[in-house]
């Protein structure tokens, strides 16, 4: 059976695992942004937290993914279900690019603009909302883009702990020594990463008209 035939015959399962994969990536990215952007903003306000927060995110990223899954497994609520564990780990991996880019993006705002805004009487929230975040958006989105592509990749390993996703095919194919099965997982995953990169790049260009 050719590869294309194999894909067609198993299209239901491929589709289901793709959706599972999207779910893992989507939820993790949502959490990473919801946690990472505020943390990034926080360290622009409190320089003393810079090292601890960026440092922690960096440490998480340095831990090999399979090892991180292993570390989280004994934990009470998180370790109980494979998908919770996977999402926690994936969120952890996505944090560093998001936090760091939020920080860099905001710090990159022209100091003259910031000084004029403060001198005008903008409160800190108004400064953040009207000036800093809009101007930092491009850089933040770039961080989200990098984080998403990384997450799509690491999510394939989630299958090793039973969290599902396209990694299922990859591991199954390795066990069965069947290339078609491996590719049934690898190709959609690769396509997903490319599509995410492309789409987020496009969205970035649309949302951020050259505001330099």
């Amino acid at each position: 059976m050719s590869l294309l035939d194999f894909f067609y015959r198993n299209r239901a399962e491929i589709w289901m695992l793709t959706l599972e994969h999207l779910w893992l990536v989507g939820l993790s990215m949502l959490l990473a942004v919801a946690i990472g952007v505020p943390l990034g903003v926080l360290i622009t306000r409190k320089a003393s937290l810079n090292k601890p927060i960026l440092g922690s995110a960096n440490v998480i990223q340095t831990i090999p993914s399979l090892a991180l899954f292993g570390f989280l497994m004994p934990l009470p609520w998180l370790g109980a279900r494979a998908d919770r564990l996977a999402i926690a780990a994936l969120t952890g991996y996505a944090l560093l690019p998001v936090i760091r880019n939020t920080y860099t993006g905001i710090m990159g705002v022209d100091p003259g603009v910031r000084e004029a805004a403060r001198g005008m009487g903008l409160t800190d929230w108004q400064l953040l909302w009207h000036v800093e975040l809009p101007l930092a958006l491009g850089v933040i989105l770039a961080g989200v883009r990098v984080a998403t592509v990384i997450t799509v990749g690491i999510a394939t390993i989630a299958a090793a702990i039973g969290a599902g996703g396209l990694g299922e095919f990859i591991f199954r194919g390795l066990a069965m020594v069947d290339n078609r099965v491996i590719l049934a997982g690898a190709i959609p995953a690769a396509l997903m990463a490319l599509a995410a990169d492309f789409f987020l790049g496009w969205a970035g260009r649309r949302l951020v008209p050259a505001s330099k």
Binding site: D110, P111, G112, V113, R114, E115, A116, A117, R118, G119, M120, G121, L122, T123, Q126, H130, V131, P134, L135, S211, K212
Partner: protein, 248 residues
């Protein structure tokens, strides 16, 4: 209107940037702070709108110590114009000027009128400029917008920190003239920082000379030109030899 009482400012424990400053700014006057780079004039300015707080002493605005003011409310009663201008690059000129009125809750129609009014005041055609972005404007135009923005909520006080310093001599002269005409109309209380003595004599009603963090004295234009004080004489010499700007 604005008063400094025994103000001292030191950034780190070592050096006093400003020492024993006692100064009054009267309503409606344009007080120019002149002095070398590093003499403390920008520091003095920034203590008025609490971008900096003094190490010792008191600053009063409209009779109240600035420490008793809510910093946000204080700054909204004071227009602030800086050399870099700092226009918001992602906003049109209209939104730039209208931001403060918007935050103060002005209805859109009133904001629009105010923006047009201000653009005309700084000699920029509203129809042509209100929809443009800062990057499309020349340096002189940008600074005019900066002044318009500072005047948006009609504050009684204006602080200007070397506002025309980045402009070429011709544009600078033009904008100084426009500024004088505007000041005659609006009669704001203005504190203007510059190191250009010639500019000080053009725009100021009174000149305060600062040297190494100390106030040497305040002078009317004629008094400045006739003073026997050696510090003042040094500035007059510069005027005579030509270029009024000590460095650019």
């Amino acid at each position: 209107m604005i008063e400094f009482r025994n103000v001292r400012y030191s950034a780190d424990r070592q050096r006093d940037v400003l020492l024993n400053l006692n100064l009054k700014v009267e309503v409606g006057e344009t007080l120019v702070l002149v002095g070398r780079s590093g003499c403390g004039k920008t520091t003095t300015l920034k203590m008025i709108n609490r971008l900096l707080d003094p190490s010792e002493g008191q600053i009063l605005v409209e009779g109240r110590p600035v420490r008793d003011w809510d910093p946000i409310r204080l700054r909204r009663r004071i227009g602030y114009v800086i050399q870099e201008v700092g226009l918001f690059p992602h906003f049109t000129i209209e939104r730039n000027i209208g931001l403060l009125p918007q935050l103060e809750g002005w209805p859109p129609e009133r904001r629009r009128q105010r923006v047009d009014e201000l653009l005309q005041m700084v000699s920029l055609d509203p129809a042509e400029f209100r929809g443009r972005y800062p990057r499309e404007l020349s340096g002189g135009q940008r600074q005019r917008v900066g002044v318009a923005r500072a005047l948006a909520a009609d504050p009684p006080i204006l602080l200007m920190d070397e506002p025309f310093g980045a402009l070429d001599p011709l544009t600078r002269a033009e904008i100084q003239r426009g500024f004088l005409a505007l000041q005659k109309r609006l009669r704001k209380t203005i504190v203007f920082v510059t190191h250009d003595i010639r500019e000080a004599l053009v725009v100021g009603t009174r000149i305060a000379l600062l040297e190494a963090g100390k106030l040497v004295g305040t002078y009317s234009r004629t008094a400045f030109l006739n003073s026997t004080d050696p510090a003042v004489a040094a500035y007059r010499d510069v005027l005579r030899t030509g270029d009024g700007a000590t460095e650019s």
